[in-house]
């Protein structure tokens, strides 16, 4: 009997004190993208994108929703400034009716200024945070004001964060931008022989936004959001950008190419092009020590499908395919070399050449690791590409080639 009384008592105490961490699902503002910018006087400016479930949530609405008739924006970008990132974040809470919740966040954008100043300070918060998922958050550097980028309207994926998310999901279509999970960013930051990189996000002019006759404004928004290229870091500071070709060169070496197109000159006729769609690729770095210094050999194996041939080529002949193999292997090699030259110029070993060296020659690495930033721009990089065209679509010959 006494024991039963005790249990009841404990339950009552629970009721009295409980629900410390309870937060109803509708009380939270789900941050889907956050951007960090450096503000004036060394302050930090934080932009958090919170969706409006009233507009986005499907299905039957429960209850009376006051103001629902007003065509509401599907999201709201909150902006706060503070001395630290957490400070800025809590500044926002003074204007947000909902507690900001970061576990659903998938996009993290650093402004260019912030990235150049160094992101180490804010990264600590992100690393410590319980809510932020490192494996799922993609890191970007914004070219231009991140607030503007996160406010570009779009009729399909109405929330820019979701749009970015979906573009990242389809990155294998081109492999010309380099999104990187925060966990990987943090890992490369901690490695001695590798520097971090991040994707680049920009607001581009929308060519489809043309004012047609009889209309006052264009039906399309004037700006469009685009993921492009990569930003290279040295330690936690950004040192420069790679363009789209160079980015794929980087991704080849990092084994991150999931697909995409390779355009290269078609043999036989001047000015004509052929296009390959990448199926899968695999790369390996093999360091060597010679008298002339360190040589890095990047070995790439690639397989692709032929999707387009402009020139008059009988692609049903094996020797023609062999020739095409050779040519597109050269194109891949060029991309890699372009990236390597640019990275050496910027002095950022995002490829992990140093790491590859350390893995193979741990003892030598100990001697040179302090000087690696100076050694890296001078190392010789060789690329060996073995490329294969496996299939060529539904036809053997281009349409105008006489039989």
């Amino acid at each position: 009997m006494k024991r039963r009384m005790l249990i009841i008592l404990v339950l009552l105490i629970c009721l009295n004190a409980g629900c410390w961490d309870l937060r109803e699902v509708e009380d939270l503002g789900y941050v889907m993208a956050m951007a960090i910018d450096s503000g004036p006087q060394g302050k930090i400016r934080l932009i958090a994108q919170v969706p409006n479930p009233r507009v986005l949530g499907g299905g039957q609405r429960g209850g009376i929703t006051p103001g629902a008739s007003i065509a509401a924006k599907p999201y709201r970008n909150y902006e706060g400034t503070g001395s630290t990132i957490f400070d800025a974040l809590r500044e926002i809470s003074r204007e947000s009716s909902r507690r900001l919740f970061f576990a659903q966040n998938r996009t993290l954008i650093f402004s260019e200024a912030m990235a150049e100043k160094g992101v180490g300070g804010v990264l600590d918060f992100l690393k410590r945070s319980v809510e932020i998922r490192h494996g799922l958050t993609m890191v970007f550097v914004a070219r231009g004001d991140p607030a503007k980028i996160l406010d570009i309207p779009n009729p399909h994926a109405t929330v820019p964060a979701l749009r970015i998310d979906d573009i990242v999901r389809w990155r294998g279509q081109t492999s010309r931008f380099a999104p990187v999970p925060l966990s990987r960013f943090l890992e490369t930051l901690s490695l001695e022989g590798q520097e971090p990189y991040a994707g680049v996000i920009e607001a581009a002019f929308n060519p489809a936004a043309q004012v047609r006759e009889g209309e006052k404004a264009a039906l399309e928004p004037p700006l469009t959001l685009r993921l492009t290229g990569a930003a290279l870091f040295r330690n936690d500071r950004m040192v420069g950008f790679l363009d789209e070709t160079e980015t794929r060169g980087l991704l080849w070496v990092l084994n991150e190419v999931k697909g995409g197109q390779i355009v290269f000159p078609c043999p036989g006729q001047e000015g004509k092009k052929a296009t390959i769609e990448i199926l899968r690729a695999n790369a390996k770095i093999e360091p060597e020590i010679t008298e002339d210094g360190i040589i890095m050999t990047v070995k790439i194996r690639e397989e692709g499908n032929l999707v387009e041939v402009e020139g008059p080529l009988d692609t049903s002949k094996p020797e023609v395919i062999k020739e095409l193999d050779r040519l597109h292997a050269a194109a891949i090699g060029n991309e890699v070399m372009a990236a390597v030259y640019k990275a050496q110029e910027l002095g950022s070993d995002a490829f992990g050449f140093g790491e590859a060296f350390r893995r193979k020659f741990p003892r030598e690495w100990k001697k040179i690791k302090r000087d690696w930033p100076e050694i890296f721009p001078g190392i010789e990089v060789r690329v060996q590409v073995v490329a294969h065209i496996r299939r060529m679509g539904m036809t053997g010959k281009p349409p105008f080639l006489a039989p």
């Binding site: 410390w20 494996g135 193979k360």
Partner: protein
């Protein structure tokens, strides 16, 4: 000197149930902390450290079995006075039983530390300790058989979940993160092997269970099987954590196994991302069996030490003392982790290995045994 023999405890357990007990007593905290603590010293060679630790653990459990076999009807708390004489024996017995409570309250602290850091920062830590210890008390009232039955089910679920987590991250595990092997020589690897070695040694709890096992001839086999299961589990988390984020990051993690679950990323099945709270549920279960096994061994030992017939009246007072110790023990999480990595393994090695081997040698020299020829 009191009569040596099994005390009132319903039912016997089989050697396999004893194995479940041995695995449960190590698993939950070990898999949580081993990657960080081991990778701190051994870096990418942490997996080699675990192998070495496994051999050390086998040695410890073999010592324990050898000692236990000399006294088939009594626990170490009961026969320590036989070996060493009354007063030193009682002191050693007390060290043993205190060790159980000591790990018990350490587990309570670890548990509340993780819950407060990762899931429910505003809930007072005492709530987690209280809930877990009440469950442990409930199980302890049930007795050894109930604990074994419960643990075997929980253990199956825990191990299955671990395998599932590893399967989900296996595509992101990169072999090159383990290279180069033996970068800094054997020293750091051995250093990294000490904490897991200590954890493996916790299987020496057999010294308390031995009198209750009915098929004693199988004990050597099942004990090594327990070590093997633990070895596989530890290797899985070590390889998972290091292969996923590299040794430097893995060493930074406070709770590497959890961080591993948080890093699950599946583009094909995004619904499985962010499900680490489910992993937390499973881990609560693992923590419970760990606490229960330690607590029960402690209470049983206490009853034997005091020569009391029934251990049940001691359950609630012991838990109250343990809670009190847990609440005051460590001021912040940094202290707790420094302790768990540096001090804790040495203390458990002292109890499970040094004392055990000392008892074994003394008993051997003095030819003390209650085994029937």
């Amino acid at each position: 000197m009191g009569e040596v023999g099994p005390m009132r405890e319903e039912g016997k357990i089989s050697a396999y149930q004893a194995m479940v007990y041995q695995v449960s007593i190590v698993l939950a905290t070990a898999i949580l902390f081993v990657p960080a603590i081991t990778a701190k010293h051994a870096k990418q060679d942490a997996w080699i450290s675990v192998i070495i630790a496994c051999f050390f653990g086998s040695l410890q459990v073999y010592t324990a079995v050898s000692l236990a076999r000399r006294f088939p009807d009594a626990s170490v708390v009961q026969y320590a006075p036989l070996i060493l004489g009354k007063v030193p024996g009682k002191v050693v017995g007390f060290v043993y039983l205190f060790y159980f409570f000591y790990v018990g309250y350490f587990v309570l602290q670890e548990f509340s530390a993780l819950m407060c850091s990762s899931y429910m920062p505003r809930t007072p830590p005492i709530v987690f300790m209280l809930v877990l210890s009440l469950l442990a008390v409930y199980a302890a009232y049930g007795g050894l058989e109930v604990i074994c039955r419960m643990s075997s089910i929980v253990l199956t679920v825990v191990l299955a979940t671990m395998v599932l987590v590893v399967l989900l991250i296996i595509k992101d595990i990169k072999i090159w993160r383990f290279l180069p092997a033996l970068e800094n020589g054997l020293g750091p690897i051995l250093l990294g092997a000490i904490p897991p070695g200590g954890w493996f040694g916790e299987t020496a709890v057999l010294l308390m269970l031995y009198p209750f096992i009915d098929n004693k001839e199988k004990v050597v086999k099942t004990s090594f099987l327990a070590i093997l299961i633990l070895f596989i589990a530890m290797e899985m988390v070590v390889i998972g954590a290091v292969g996923l984020v590299g040794p430097t990051e893995a060493a930074c993690f406070l709770f590497p196994t959890f961080n591993m679950a948080r890093l699950i990323k599946l583009e094909a099945l995004p619904i499985l991302e962010r499900q680490d709270a489910l992993f937390m549920m499973i881990w609560v279960a693992g923590m419970l069996i760990k606490l229960t096994t330690f607590f029960f061994a402690g209470v049983l030992g206490l009853a034997q030490w005091l020569n009391v017939k029934d251990y049940r009246p001691l359950i609630l007072p012991s838990m109250a003392i343990m809670m009190a110790l847990a609440v005051q023990a460590w001021e912040n999480i940094a202290e707790l982790f420094a302790f768990s990595g540096e001090v804790f393994p040495l203390t458990i090695i002292f109890v499970n290995f040094i004392i055990t081997i000392f008892l074994l040698i003394t008993a051997g020299i003095r030819h003390i045994s209650t085994r029937k020829a």
